[in-house]
Symmetry: C2
Amino acid sequence: MKFKRSERLVVMTHHLTNHPNELVPLNYFVEKFSQAKSSVSEDIKIIKETFEADGIGEIKTTAGAGGGITFHPGINIEQAELVVDAFMEEIKSSDRLLPGGYMYMSDIIGNPSLMNDIGELIATLYKSSEVDAIVTIATKGIPFATAVARQLNVPIAVIRKDNKVTEGSTVSVNYVSGSSRKIETMVLSKRTLKGGLKVLVVDDFLRAGGSITGVFNLMEEFQAEVVGVSVLVEAKQVENRRFNDYTSILSVSDIDEYNQSFNIERGNCIAQLKEMKS
Amino acid sequence: MKFKRSERLVVMTHHLTNHPNELVPLNYFVEKFSQAKSSVSEDIKIIKETFEADGIGEIKTTAGAGGGITFHPGINIEQAELVVDAFMEEIKSSDRLLPGGYMYMSDIIGNPSLMNDIGELIATLYKSSEVDAIVTIATKGIPFATAVARQLNVPIAVIRKDNKVTEGSTVSVNYVSGSSRKIETMVLSKRTLKGGLKVLVVDDFLRAGGSITGVFNLMEEFQAEVVGVSVLVEAKQVENRRFNDYTSILSVSDIDEYNQSFNIERGNCIAQLKEMKS
C-alpha cells in the first residue's frame, strides 16, 4: 500500500493516540510507509503542532539510535472543567446515599469513557513526576487506576484486603480504618513492585485516610516513594486526616442520609492544573 | 484557530481514536472547525478509507437529526497474532508457577498497554453481539474488563465475593468452586445492571468453570443474556467443565509445579477471528 500524506497523518495520529507515553521509533513509520525519514519528520511536525495548538498533548522527539517520538497526552483547563462537571452531574443525577452516609458510585466507576477522561486529567497533573507505577486498593480503585496507568503507560499494582494463592509471597501491613476504627490488613504481592519505584496512589473515595495511610506504610516496605495521591471524591470537613497532600476530582460535604442530601463541588484538581499551567 | 485539512485530519483522527464506539455528531466537527459540512464529510471519507485500508477499524455514518459518525475499532489477523504472541512471551518469561499449580499473572494483568491490545481483540470478536455491559469477577478480571469495556464503550459490572456497604442492595448466588469444591458466594449490586441486558462475561483464568457457572446463575437473576465468555488463559484438559463456549487468548496445559514447567499455546481467539473474517 502506498500512502499519501493525508493518509500517513491519519495512521500516525491513530497510532500515537493509541500508544500514549510509549516511545515509537521513527523507523516504525519509515518502514511502514516506505518513505524517506525527511517526509516522515515533516508529517510528525504537522501532528506535533496540531496537537499542541488544540491542547491534545505534546509530542517529544528523542534523537539517536534508540530514539523516536513519544506522545504525552494532556488536557487543557477548559476540557478539564468539562470532565469534572460531567462527573459532578453524574453524582447529582440519582439517589446515591446509602446507610451510614456512604455513597454509591459503582456505576460511575464502571463508565469507561468518563474514567478515561479523568485518567487524562490525572496523567496531565503527574506527567512530570516520573511515575513508575500506579498503586491502588481493591476493588473500587482499579478502574480508575487502569485509566491513569493507560495514559501514563505504567503498570498498576493492586493491594488486596485478603491473601490469595495466586499472589505468591506477599507483604502485609495492618492499618486502622479511619471511619470504623477497626484494625484491618492489606497485602501486596512481593513481585508486583520492584524496589525503589516512584508510585502514584489512587483510590475512589477519601474519608479519614486510614487506608491510604496504610498504603504509605506498605510502600515503605517496598522502598517505594509515593509521589502523589489521587482520589475521585474526597469527603470535606473530615478532621484529623492523616495527610493533606492529594488531588481530588470532586469534594462532598454535609452528607445527610436521612434527608438524602449532600453538597458536591469541584475538588482541588482544577486549581492544581491552573497552578501547573501558569 | 483556522484549521487546514491536514490539521483537521489530525484532530478528527485523535478524537475518534479516543472515543471508540461513541457517536460523534457531524456538527461537533463542523462547529469546531467553522467549516462547511461538505468539507468535513470529505475529511471523514479520507479517515474512513485509511482506517479500513490499514485495518484500524470501521467508521460508520448515521444519517438524520441525531446522526453522526462512530468509530468501531478493529484488529486484523496479523495484528491479533502479534498481540497473542506478545502475551505468550510474557507468560513464558519468568517463573510463574505457584503452590497448587496456580499461575502468577498480576504483572501481566497490570500492564495497561497489553490489556488495551487484548481489549481491541475481544472487542473485534464481539462487535456484532450488541453487548450492553461487561461483567467480571473481582479482583483480577477488572483490568481486562475495563480494557474491553473501553473499546466497546459500555459499562462494567463487578461481581464481588463479599458484601460491601458501598454496594447498596445486592443479589447473591452460591456456587461450587470447581477446583477446591468449596461452596462460595458471589454478589452483585442490584443497581449495577438494569434488567434485560446483553452481557459479555470476562475473567482472567478459566479452570473448571465453577465461578463462571455462578455468573450465569447470577445473570438469570438480572434477566441478563450472556452473549459470550472471554478469558485471558484457559487450563486445557480440564474435564467436566460446565460450559464449552468461550473465547480464550492463551491455553495452558501440563502444569507441573514440581518441575516448574507447563505448556502454553494460543487459545481459540485467533481461530474465531479467522472464522469471523472469512
